[in-house]
Symmetry: C2
Subunit: 95 residues, 2 copies
Amino acid sequence: METAFKAINDVTRREILQFLIQGPQNAGQIAKQFDMTKPSISHHLDLLKQAQLIDAVKKGQFIHYSLNKKGFESIHQWFQGFAQHFEFPKPKIRL
Amino acid sequence: METAFKAINDVTRREILQFLIQGPQNAGQIAKQFDMTKPSISHHLDLLKQAQLIDAVKKGQFIHYSLNKKGFESIHQWFQGFAQHFEFPKPKIRL
DNA sequence: TAAATAATTAGGCGAATATCTAATTAATAT
DNA sequence: ATATTAATTAGATATTCGCCTAATTATTTA
């Protein structure tokens, strides 16, 4: 849980997560979205992976990254402790 | 929003929030809960206040701190963007 | 008004973080 | 086999963060 909070405490990493909402992307495709070197992005991906916010699957010379439910769950769980004290606006459409 | 993520990226600050679930507490009462000097706690309270995760009300020489819905909402909102891609377990009791 | 209490502000220091360049590993293609 | 491409690992550096002690501000009480 510690690692998840750490991971989302960075704009770039949050933007990577945001980007992955559209679906899995390899490291190069992700790096292209940002004005930052590939090694830096690689490091961010590593932290996100450690936090289980993303998954990595190697396909040949590419590595496909995608969102991982697990990390989000741990954040969600923490959040629920407070949700009971506040009432939050529900999204228009509940899937 | 940036400030909210920053604020919750620290164990002590998260524990302060947790402690405030039981109700408003003044700075001294909060500081007593932690093995840390008052100035350090004061700094943490300042960051939580900036993130609008807590409110501060001065009553005489005391300052009463309490949870503030606003900061939690901004985190919640960010989270909703991902909640639509994952299905999260709902709490047993919905208030 | 002087002493005590509650809390913050200021300044300093070591540890952690984000970024870069250079080097390395691994897979594909010529 | 060699060159190319995708990506990571390693090492260096500047900045941010969390904590401390000392000093300051503000309020209450004797």
